[in-house]
């Protein structure tokens, strides 16, 4: 299996000598091509910091992050921007579609800023739209389509550039349960049918249950790891809840 993401002993400190906070404390893990990995943890556990470091929004204090074999912690300026544009795709808590653009334009924008040739843009947008079954709404504006369709447009935008890794930050955070289910189903579709590698950060057990593998983070360290394997999603969900209870911390804090 090809290694898409390799994280080696990364640490991230905030603050100064007298008051040091270790947001990430020596984390290492790998993501293989085609995996759907979930990262779980309570708020303040360091999971968003981790995602920010991978997406190069933030810099690590020490350690290495390799994406597709490329060491990214030392990238700067244009090289960094190019890396973000070409290797990564993002899906956000709220879909972050531009309300003034049509669905077609929203998807195409991800390609135009990569300076892809105009004829190829149309072809690729049509292709991905067909796969995600949103071809007939391409000419519409986001406010004219349903929530589920909006989410698929956002997913199309993330995947249309053929990124090595799709990063999702609390993708269901702002959704009602029906819309959340729809979004997760399209994640599953991206992962299984389009072979997209997805790294998803969430604190919600149901959302996490769609992943193949889950890393639990607590106080900046990897606390546990769950692999779905042959389990049904229901079993997997129950396992997640178990770990979450264990991890909760809340209980021991109460005592």
């Amino acid at each position: 299996m090809e290694k898409i993401l390799e994280i080696k002993n990364i640490e991230k400190y905030y603050g100064n000598k007298t008051n040091l906070t270790k947001a990430i404390d020596n984390i290492s893990f790998q993501v293989q091509k085609g995996e759907f990995v979930g990262i779980m943890g309570a708020s303040g556990s360091g999971k968003t910091t981790l995602l920010n470091c991978i997406s190069t929004i933030d810099k690590v204090t020490s350690g290495y992050i390799l994406v597709d074999g490329e060491e990214i912690t030392k990238l700067k300026g244009n090289a960094l921007n190019r890396f973000r544009r070409e290797k990564l795709g993002f899906i956000f808590q709220d879909f972050n579609l531009l309300d003034t653009l049509t669905c077609f334009e929203n998807i195409a924008l991800a390609l135009t800023i990569q300076k892809v040739h105009s004829q190829e843009i149309e072809k690729r947008v049509e292709e991905i739209a067909e796969k995600l079954e949103i071809k007939d709404i391409l000419k519409k504006y986001p406010y004219e389509v349903s929530g589920g369709q909006k989410q698929r447009v956002a997913a199309a935008r993330a995947i249309v550039t053929n990124p090595k890794l799709v990063l999702a930050d609390e993708p269901t955070g702002a959704l009602d349960s029906k819309s959340a289910r729809q979004l997760l189903e399209s994640f599953e579709f991206l992962n299984q049918n389009l072979k997209a590698t997805i790294l998803m950060v969430t604190h919600d057990a149901f959302t996490a249950s769609y992943a193949n593998r889950i890393l639990f983070i607590k106080d900046g360290k990897i606390f546990n790891e769950l692999i779905k394997g042959k389990d049904t999603r229901k079993d997997f969900f129950e396992k997640i809840i178990e770990v979450q209870t264990l991890l909760g911390g809340d209980l021991s804090d109460v005592i």
Binding site: N81, R84, T112, I113, Q114, S118, Y141
Partner: protein
């Protein structure tokens, strides 16, 4: 504590304040500049008659200043309102922390006073330096001696500026207090969250309306440039103006939709970089700001046209003077006075009115050799022959159309040989006439237009019981009395054989040059009727005599055009600032609304360079579009202004004034563009 808070806030939002500050500084500087004109050095070095004109100009300027102050005051309140709105959330937080409205008002008060004082100081310093520059310009215009340069500071203008702006700041303070008193905490906290309705227009309508607007504009352009002879009265002139306004509105309403449609077809441009985003942004915004864009476009158009045509007018008035004032002096005296009804003259005056001008002058001790090249001719008036009569059977038609003309005014009649003597002296074309022909001399184009219609129909005139036909089917360009603009409304030239009686002489007309090489001013003083000279003495005796001199014409020509030019520049700059401010604030308001969109762009992988370029393009197009259309309007508007100003200008003269206009506009408009770009960049940059 409040002080500290106020200063920290200002330091923090210094970029938000830039537009406000720029407007205040420019306003103060311009206000000072134009109100300090009287104490400028150039003004102290000019001749007496010019000095009077300048005093008139300063009076007019001070009236205009009141209007300017009102415009600036409104702008400042508007700009201030924008700032206060930007900070609603901040005030909301203070209120949740328990701060009262009075304390918030106090913070704003401290800020307003502080920024007011700084901008007043900076503006005055800028104004003082700029007025030194303007002094050079003024000197050139009034041909003043500027060999010894002195730094001038006008205390009066400074105090005036301070008072006016103090009043404006007071208005701002009151307005703010009122705004704060109406704050509701929940609205302040949620100030940043409001839903904007997206309105999209059917592209089909965009195309139709765009075509409609273009056609209307095209037709208006055609009328004002190619069909000017049809524009003879107010409704005629108003029609293309109205069409221009409607056309501009229609074009702005549909422009973005139309171009979106066109550019979408051009995939290479459409699907390149962030172009499609820029296009949509503009489309979206123009849709919501049609009215303000059109107003700005029309204001810019007025600025360009007023500035460049008034500058050109000044230049061409100088040139007109040369061709319309070929001799140093004209003296005109009423002749053969008739006592009718209540009008009774002294016996001496009655006797004198039968004498030619030169005789009268000599009788009062004037030395004949003071003048040279003297030509004196009689001008006749015939009972019953007035302008209305001249129009013959078309009189009613014209009276209906042009109600304001003096149809009862007597026509002036002169003999051909008399005219030719004057023409020879003036270096103009001489004419000859058959026994039954007449010629009309006229250089005032609007009247010439009416007369030409009569002449071309072969209008027969009865003069002294004999019928005459026109020799030419149009008026001939010419004049008797020297002037600084084309003011001759018509003189009829008849053959010498015409039976004109002595009693018909209404005026004696004398044209001459001063018999001197270098000291024309000295002779001028003897004859201009301003001081204690012979003309004044004659008038005091009741003799109806007047003079036109080349020197006084030159002075008043300079004066008139300078008054026009100063007021035009003053108002032009204010209009320009007003439109720039509105445009800039509109953009900044939009930028805060659009912050979310730029955050998304950043999230999907646009780097800062790309974001900045996108923003630059967007604001550039927003500033550029009204300017572009204003320039197109102006190309035609200036041509029309030239026609209205009636031969005052010729086109080559326009180029330098257009260049000056562009530099002036570039400076002010450009500053606002830059301030807007930097301000917007700052707004979208802030990441929580």
């Amino acid at each position: 504590m409040l002080f500290k808070l106020a200063f920290k806030n200002m330091a923090k939002s210094i970029k938000d304040y830039s537009i406000y500050f720029l407007t205040l500084v420019l306003g103060v500087a311009i206000f000072y500049m134009f109100n300090s004109l009287d104490s400028q050095q150039a003004m102290l070095e000019v001749s007496k008659s010019t000095r009077e004109i300048i005093e008139l100009m300063i009076r007019i300027l001070s009236i205009v200043s009141v209007f300017v102050a009102v415009v600036l005051g409104l702008l400042i309140v508007y700009a201030n309102n924008f700032l206060i709105n930007r900070r609603k959330k901040e005030f909301g937080i203070y209120m949740t922390l328990g701060m009262g409205r009075r304390q918030i008002s106090k913070i704003i008060l401290i800020e307003t006073i502080f920024i007011g004082i700084i901008s007043l100081l900076v503006g005055l310093i800028l104004g003082i330096f700029a007025s030194q520059l303007m002094s050079v310009f003024v000197a050139k215009m009034f041909e003043a001696d500027m060999t010894s340069f002195e730094f001038v500071f006008s205390k009066a203008a400074c105090i005036e500026t301070c008072i006016y702006f103090a009043v404006m700041y007071l208005a701002v303070i009151l307005f703010n207090a009122f705004t704060v008193s109406r704050y509701r905490l929940i609205r302040l906290i949620n100030a940043n969250k409001h839903n904007e309705k997206i309105k999209m227009r059917n592209p089909f309508w965009a195309v139709i309306v765009f075509l409609f607007g273009s056609i209307i504009l095209g037709y208006a352009y055609y009328i004002v440039t190619k069909q000017t002879e049809t524009l003879r009265d107010l409704p005629d002139v108003l029609r293309p103006i109205l069409m221009g306004i409607i056309g501009t509105l229609a074009v702005f309403w549909s422009l973005s939709g139309f171009f979106l449609l066109v550019i979408q077809k051009m995939k290479n441009i459409y699907l390149k970089g962030t172009n499609l985003f820029v296009l949509r942004q503009i489309n979206h915004k123009i849709n919501t700001t049609v009215i303000s864009m059109s107003v700005i476009c029309i204001m810019l158009f007025m600025t360009i046209t007023i500035l460049s045509s008034s500058l050109a007018m000044h230049n061409s008035m100088q040139q007109n003077l040369l061709s319309l004032s070929p001799v140093d002096i004209n003296i005109i005296k009423r002749a053969y006075l008739k006592e009718t009804g209540d009008i009774i003259y002294d016996k001496e005056v009655l006797e004198d009115s039968k004498l030619p001008i030169m005789e009268t002058l000599k009788n009062h001790g004037f030395e004949e050799n003071t003048l040279k090249d003297v030509v004196e001719i009689p001008i006749y008036e015939i009972e019953g022959l007035n302008f209305g009569k001249f129009l013959g059977n078309q009189q009613e038609h014209f009276e209906e159309r042009y109600t304001f003309l003096a149809y009862g005014e007597h026509e002036e009649v002169i003999k051909i040989s008399d005219y030719n003597r004057v023409a020879r002296l003036y270096g103009k074309e001489e004419y000859n006439l058959k026994e039954n022909e007449y010629i009309v001399l006229c250089n005032y184009q609007n009247i010439a237009y009416i007369r030409n219609q009569v002449l071309s129909s072969g209008n027969t005139l009865t003069i002294a019981e004999k019928e005459y036909v026109p020799k030419y089917s149009e008026c001939k360009d010419g004049f008797l009395e020297i002037s600084n603009s084309r003011m001759n409304t018509g003189i009829i030239i008849v053959p010498d054989s015409c039976n004109l009686q002595q009693e018909m002489i209404s005026e004696f007309f004398l044209a001459a040059n001063y018999n001197t090489d270098n000291d024309k001013e000295k002779i001028e003083e003897m004859l201009d009727g301003a001081g204690d000279d012979i003309i004044k003495q004659l008038r005091e005796q009741g003799i109806n005599i007047r003079t036109s001199t080349k020197i006084s014409l030159a002075d008043s020509s300079v004066g008139i055009s300078s008054i026009v030019i100063f007021i035009a520049i003053y108002l032009g700059i204010i209009f320009l600032i007003a439109s720039s401010v509105i445009l800039a604030l509109k953009q900044l308001t939009d930028s805060s609304d659009n912050k979310q969109r730029y955050i998304i762009l950043r999230k999907i992988g646009c780097d800062e360079k790309m974001i900045n370029r996108t923003l630059f393009k967007q604001i550039g197009i927003f500033f550029g579009l009204p300017l572009l259309f204003a320039i197109i309007h102006s190309i035609f508007g200036i041509q029309f202004a030239l026609i209205v100003l009636e031969g005052l200008t010729n086109t080559e003269e326009l180029l330098p004034s257009i260049i000056v206009t562009i530099i002036l506009m570039g400076f002010i408009y450009g500053s606002y563009f830059l301030a807007t770009y930097l301000g917007s960049k700052n707004i979208i940059k802030k990441e929580e």
